[in-house]
C-alpha cells in the first residue's frame, strides 16, 4: 500500500524527521487558508499515487495565499497518468532556500534479504539517470535487522557522499529515525527525495514516498486507515471484498483463472496468439457459484470485454463441482458476451460433459481455449 506524500511526511515527522510546515486542502479556499497560516511563498503539490507530477503541472509555486488558491484550482482535478488529483499539499518553502538536494531511501533488497539504505548527493528528479550512468555516486549499506542500523553505516554514507562534517551527527540521527520508521511501519520503501540542506544549514525532507507491506497491514491499523479507498476502481474494491485478486487491463478478453501463475500464463498465451487480455483475475481456492458470479460481474462491468475465457484447474476442487458452479453462475447472469470454458485436472472430463450439456463452449487445452476466445472477441 502506497502512502501519499503528505501521509509519508507526517509519518516521518512522527519519527523525528524534519519536514516543512504545511497542510492539505481539497478546495482552493482550503488551500488559501493553509497558505495564509504559513505566510509567504508556498508550494502547492498534487497528492496522487504516481510519479512525474512536476512535468504534468501538478507542482507549482505560489507567491501568496491568493496565488495558492489559484494554483490549487489549477491542480485540483488534474489527471496525472490516470490519477485524478483530489487533494493538494501546501508546504512552506525550505527555510533560507535549498543548498543541496540529497537522495535517501531505505528499501527491502530482495536479493540480499535485508533492508538496504541508498543515498546520493545527486538527489532530485534525475536520480535514476545518476544511478544508471554514475553508479559510484550512489552509496549503499545493508542493515542486518538482528543488530540494527549502526553508526558507522551512517558515517560511511555521509563521508562517501561528501556531506559537510558539521551535519554528520544530524544526518546520523535522521537516518536512524528513518530506519526506525521503516521497521516500525513494516515498510517496503521509505524514500526522501529530495532530502535538502536548507539555507539555514539543516536537513529537511521536502518529499516522501512510503510503501507499506500489504501483508503486514493487519498489525499497522493506523497506516491501514490511511488508504484512500475513493481512488480505487469500484471493480477492484468489489474483487477485494470477494477475496478475488483483480487488476484491470486494456484488452478485450476477460479472464477468470484460479491461481496467480496460471492467471498470468493465461494472459500470456492470449497475447502470444494475437489477442489482448482485459484483466488479470485470480479467483483463488474453490470456485463455487457465488464466487464465479461475482468474478463474472466484475469482468463484464468493463464494456471493452468482447469475450471471456474461464480457465480452472481442478486440483483439490474437482472439475465436476467447478462446472456446476459455472453453470449456476451463468444462469444467474444476463449477458451475451461469449464465454469459453476450459477445465483441466481432476474430474475435468466429467466437468466438460456438464458444461457441454448446458450448451457452453468448451476447450480441452489452454492454447485451444485462447484461440477460441480470440476468435470470439474478434
Amino acid at each position: 500500500m502506497n502512502l501519499y506524500e503528505y501521509q509519508a511526511k507526517r509519518l516521518f515527522a512522527k519519527y523525528g524527521i524534519p519536514i516543512p510546515q504545511g497542510d492539505v486542502a481539497k478546495t482552493p479556499e482550503e488551500a488559501k487558508a493553509v497558505a495564509e497560516k504559513l505566510g509567504g511563498r508556498v508550494i502547492v503539490k498534487s497528492q496522487v499515487h504516481t510519479g512525474g507530477r512536476g512535468k504534468a503541472g501538478g507542482v507549482k509555486l505560489a507567491d501568496d495565499a491568493a496565488d495558492a488558491a489559484a494554483k490549487a484550482k489549477e491542480i485540483l482535478g488534474l489527471d496525472i497518468k490516470g490519477h485524478v488529483t483530489r487533494t493538494v499539499l501546501i508546504d512552506e518553502l525550505a527555510p533560507g532556500g535549498i543548498e543541496q538536494e540529497i537522495y535517501l531511501a531505505i528499501l527491502i533488497d530482495r536479493a540480499a534479504k535485508k533492508p538496504m539504505i541508498m543515498a546520493s548527493y545527486e538527489g532530485g528528479m534525475d536520480i535514476e539517470e545518476v544511478a544508471a550512468t554514475q553508479p559510484e555516486k550512489i552509496f549503499k549499506v545493508w542493515v542486518d535487522p538482528s543488530v540494527g542500523l549502526k553508526g558507522y553505516q551512517a558515517t560511511y554514507i555521509a563521508s562517501g557522499m561528501g556531506l559537510p562534517k558539521e551535519l554528520w551527527k544530524e544526518f546520523g540521527k535522521l537516518l536512524a529515525n528513518l530506519y526506525t520508521c521503516f521497521m516500525g511501519s513494516d515498510a517496503e520503501l521509505a524514500e526522501i527525495n529530495p532530502l535538502v540542506i536548507t539555507g539555514e544549514g539543516h536537513l529537511m525532507a521536502l518529499d516522501g514516498k512510503v510503501t507499506i507491506d500489504d501483508s503486514a497491514l493487519y498489525r499497522q491499523p493506523e497506516l491501514a486507515a490511511m488508504e484512500d479507498k475513493e481512488v480505487i476502481p469500484a471493480s477492484e474494491l468489489k474483487a477485494a471484498e470477494a477475496g478475488v485478486s483483480f487488476i484491470q487491463l486494456d484488452g478485450n478478453i476477460g479472464c477468470m483463472v484460479n491461481g496467480a501463475g496460471l492467471a498470468m500464463t493465461t494472459m500470456d498465451i492470449i497475447q502470444l496468439f494475437g489477442g489482448s487480455p482485459a484483466n488479470f483475475l485470480d479467483i483463488g481456492g474453490g470456485a463455487d457459484a457465488a464466487k464465479v458470479t461475482t468474478a463474472l460481474e466484475i469482468i463484464l462491468s468493463d464494456p471493452k470485454v468482447k469475450a471471456v475465457l474461464i480457465n480452472i484447474f481442478g486440483g483439490i476442487t474437482r472439475g465436476d463441482e467447478v462446472a456446476k458452479g459455472i453453470v449456476a453462475a451463468l444462469d444467474a447472469i444476463d449477458t451475451d458476451v461469449p464465454m469459453i470454458l476450459r477445465l483441466a485436472g481432476t474430474n475435468a472430463k466429467e466437468g466438460l460433459e456438464i458444461l457441454a450439456g448446458a450448451n457452453l463452449p468448451t476447450a480441452e487445452t489452454l492454447s485451444d481455449a485462447a484461440r477460441k476466445a480470440i476468435a470470439a472477441a474478434a
Binding site: I138, I247, G261, L262, I269, L272, F313, A344, T346
Partner: protein, 289 residues
C-alpha cells in the same frame, strides 16, 4: 531415489486441528504420507484426523514420535514463529504453505534458519510431492505419477497444469517442488537444481519461473556451470502489468532485470530449452526423449 522426501519421511503437521490442517492431513495420508504427529498448542494429548496424536509443541512431537519433517498450516500472523519452532526442534525439513507472511518476518526467519540445519520450502507454496512415496502439501495426488522428471516451480496452479500434462502423456515425476513466489523464501531454484542434479532418479528437469526478482537469472547462471541434465523452462507473466514501482528506488535497484524476456534470454543462453507456453514444455520433452 527422489529428493527431499520419500517413504521414510515422518511428518508432523503444525496446525493439524485447524480446518485446513485437518482437510489436507487426511488428503496427505490418503496419498501415503507418513504423518506421525500433529501439533496444536493447548491440544496436546488429543487425537486429530485419522487418530494422529496431537502435541503441544513440535519439540514434544519430535521427542515422542521421531518426526523429521513438518508441514505448516497456520495463519500468516503465526506462521513465522511456526517456522522458527520447526527449526528450533531441529527438523531437517519444514514446508510452509501459508501466504501473506510479512516480508520482514520472513527476513528474520531466513536469518534464523540459515544458522540451523533446517531446510524451509515456501512459504506461499503448494508444497512438494515425491509421487508414490510422500506428499507434503496440497499438490493433488491424483495428477502426479512416479517417473524421471524433476519439477521445480514458483507457481502453484501452473505446476498442477504442467504436472497434469506430464502424467497424462506418461511422463512421471521424481519430485515436484513448489518453492513459492514470495520475495524471501526458504529455498531457491538453485538449491533444488543442485538436488535434482545429484539425484539418480531424475533424468531431466522442468523449471517454472515468474517475472520479478532475479532468481531465474541466477538459476540460469547455475545451470550453465553445474547442471548436466536437460532443463526445460517456462516463465509466466510476459504480459503482466508492471507491478507497483517502488519509487525511484525500485528502478535504481532493478534496472532492466526481472522481465520475462530477460529471464528467457538468460535461460536460453545457459542452454535451457524455453517454452513459450506451458503446453510446449511437454512437447519439447516428448520431442527430445
Amino acid at each position: 531415489m527422489s529428493i527431499l522426501v520419500n517413504k521414510d519421511t515422518r511428518v508432523v503437521v503444525q496446525g493439524i486441528t485447524g480446518g485446513q490442517g485437518t482437510f489436507h492431513s487426511a488428503r496427505m495420508m490418503a496419498a501415503g504420507t507418513n504423518i506421525v504427529a500433529g501439533m496444536t498448542p493447548g491440544k496436546g494429548g488429543q487425537k486429530a484426523v485419522n487418530d494422529v496424536p496431537v502435541f503441544n509443541t513440535v519439540r514434544e512431537a519430535v521427542e515422542q514420535t521421531g518426526a523429521n519433517a513438518s508441514v505448516i498450516f497456520v495463519p500468516a500472523r503465526f506462521a513465522a514463529d511456526a517456522i522458527i519452532e520447526a527449526a528450533d526442534a531441529e527438523l531437517p525439513l519444514t514446508v510452509c504453505l501459508t501466504e501473506h507472511i510479512p516480508v520482514m518476518d520472513m527476513i528474520k526467519v531466513r536469518n534464523y534458519i540459515d544458522g540451523t540445519n533446517t531446510r524451509l520450502i515456501g512459504p506461499n507454496c503448494p508444497g512438494l510431492v515425491t509421487p508414490g512415496e510422500s506428499n507434503l502439501g496440497i499438490i493433488s495426488n491424483d495428477i502426479v505419477k512416479p517417473g524421471p522428471i524433476g519439477v521445480v516451480s514458483k507457481s502453484g496452479t501452473l505446476t498442477y497444469e504442467v504436472v497434469y500434462a506430464l502424467s497424462y502423456n506418461g511422463l512421471g515425476q521424481s519430485t515436484c517442488v513448489g518453492i513459492g513466489g514470495d520475495p524471501v523464501a526458504g529455498t531457491d531454484f538453485i538449491d533444488v537444481l543442485e538436488m535434482f542434479e545429484a539425484d539418480d532418479q531424475t533424468e531431466e528437469i522442468i523449471l517454472m519461473g515468474e517475472i520479478g526478482g532475479n532468481a531465474e537469472e541466477k538459476a540460469a547462471e547455475y545451470i550453465k556451470n553445474h547442471v548436466s541434465k536437460p532443463v526445460t523452462a517456462f516463465i509466466a507473466g510476459a504480459t503482466a502489468p508492471p507491478g507497483r514501482k517502488m519509487g525511484h528506488a525500485g528502478a535504481i535497484v532493478d534496472g532492466d532485470s526481472g522481465t520475462a524476456q530477460g529471464k528467457q534470454d538468460a535461460l536460453r543462453e545457459a542452454g535451457v530449452r524455453v517454452a513459450e507456453h506451458p503446453e510446449q514444455i511437454v512437447e519439447i520433452i516428448m520431442a527430445n526423449r
